[in-house]
Point group: none
Chain length 190, copies 4
DNA sequence: GATGAATGAGTGTTCATTCAT
DNA sequence: CATGAATGAACACTCATTCAT
């Protein structure tokens, strides 16, 4: 019996990300993805139930890697501001070294596939961030407003700034990262 | 492409928005859009060059209406903070009274069609906002950082907060709007 | 506007019958049927909702023609035996001049499509036969057993005899038709 | 095609019969049959040359069991009518205790596979019935018409009556079996 | 002997677009 | 102007079968 080849699964993830970024979900047909990954379209269906499963699995795979990279070296005993700054830096590092993956998640979030993802499962991976923000609120360091508002100002601007499609004039460097973190921090702090 | 019946053109815009919101770009075929607008698929090609033209035109149409609504009653002689607060309020008003249109632009921004839009042309409509921010920087009221950073914190959180897909727990009311504006202002002010 | 071409619908019926007879339902793909009818597969979907609709419509079309041919010149005032004999003759005439159509209905009856047909609607067309048999029972000319049994002996043997697949040694001619009718009549009469 | 494990062969027969009855030939794919039989698709090809071989073998297997059951306790020295009545009873017994197998043969007879079966080989198993009918003709008990006609009236109605698909109102019990045999006998006797 | 992996060829169906009226 | 008819090309997916172990 032939044995399952992990390389094929990874190749399919990469092909999916590449094509979706280049031509969008609409045009990324199963056969194009398979061709890009250098497998038969039929083989794809050994690794994934269907197109939706392929795309959602790709998303979840990215998200897991992402949360690991962002939370890896976090020292939660440090002051709230320092922890968030570290997250901020990690995010930019991750985004700038994994632009393709990041861009894919951006597209995914606004696609109809997004509705089919178990968000709670995914958010679990980002729990440490929730904890530190909660600590900030308790210690009267961070504004006591709803969580949605805080993350909208704390993290979503990263997505925009890191997306060259939207911010062609933002240069990703240490200086600009620190400068923009200052805005984020000013927004949420008391 | 000979244009005549304005009602048909508008019907096609509405049908496009409705279907894209309901089933996404991928599933919104020309014939479905035509059926929804109660015209023949062939008629659609009288008003628009092709599917891409239809979708981009729909987007531009929304954006024009949007800028008008947001900038309509702006009094640029008022203090910087007041002007921006007015813009902030107008945006939320527009979004909450034109949820469908707004949701379409969200989807559009993350679709491959977005690359084909002449952004400068569109940004022209938002010129007054640029002016007031520039004034804020000159008067040392607003942080002197790149324009991208400022708008990322000033306006992009609105998109997130107003998108129930992303912020299911954010309630759109006067109080929450003012509270979130406070964060936006704190982010950018000196 | 182009106008719908009745010839195409008929060509699709003929192609379906021909192919199903030759290679069976399984192998009669939509594209093969379309090629045989000399239309595009996509065109087929203008005339029929899907493959099932095409096949069931073909069946119903045949059945209607069939009932008309069989019951056309029936004189219900004649003696029971004479009426049934006329039906018997008509059936053989129909079968021998429409072998393809008949063979199709045979295949159809044993396919899964059969379950999706409104049988009552179809049986209505054969009502005159029901009437004459009922008369025969009332007048003590025909055995008083269930309708199923009577038709199983009266009409089903025709299907067998007329199917050269099953009865390669049965020759369809006036003599053999009359001879076999004698068996049918002996079976059901008192 | 190396044969070994009889259990697997039988499991494949049963799986084929079950699936074909449930979803038809068209939908009964090799992999579904293999899954139902709890073997790998590749294993199936050890026992059978290909799909057609599997299906035809299944048919022949059933037919052999069937002929055995029908002819098992036949006493050819008895009067013609009694022998045929016994066959008639045996058939109904077989059909009602092996509904699945019977239903499969019904479907098979109207499929294109039927053309590929060596019928002479199969008919050999039913030779005793041929003998008794021939005897009936010689003794002027049975009508002297072609063999096809006789069997069409003698045996084919059984298939119809026993097929609940075609005769939903026929109840299989001793009384109805004897009553319907009377029709069969009246049809063929002189 | 037995198997899951692998695939080219095919399935039914829909697509964006053009044609003929 | 407006339209339903028409279609080649593509879609997501499954098929019967073979391969490699």
């Amino acid at each position: 019996m032939r044995v399952r080849d992990d390389k094929k699964q990874v190749a399919l993830y990469r092909a999916t990300i590449k094509l979706v970024n280049e031509i969008g979900f609409e045009a990324s047909s199963v056969s194009k993805i398979a061709r890009e990954a250098e497998v038969s379209p039929a083989t794809l269906y050994i690794y994934f139930k269907n197109k939706q499963d392929l795309i959602i699995s790709t998303y979840i795979d990215i998200k897991k890697n992402m949360s690991q990279a962002i939370l890896d070296d976090l020292d939660e005993t440090k002051p709230v501001r320092d922890v968030l700054q570290q997250v901020w830096r990690n995010m930019f590092t991750y985004v700038s070294t994994n632009k393709e993956d990041f861009r894919f998640t951006e597209q995914f979030s606004n696609s109809p596939y997004h509705a089919s993802v178990n968000k709670q499962e995914l958010e679990k991976h980002f729990e440490p961030i929730v904890r530190v923000i909660r600590r900030g609120i308790e210690h009267k360091i961070i504004k006591n407003v709803s969580f949605s508002i805080l993350t909208a100002f704390m993290f979503h601007p990263i997505m925009v700034l890191a997306n060259p499609n939207l911010c062609s004039d933002f240069e990703l460097n240490n200086e600009s990262i620190e400068a923009s973190f200052q805005l984020a921090w000013d927004a949420i702090r008391l």
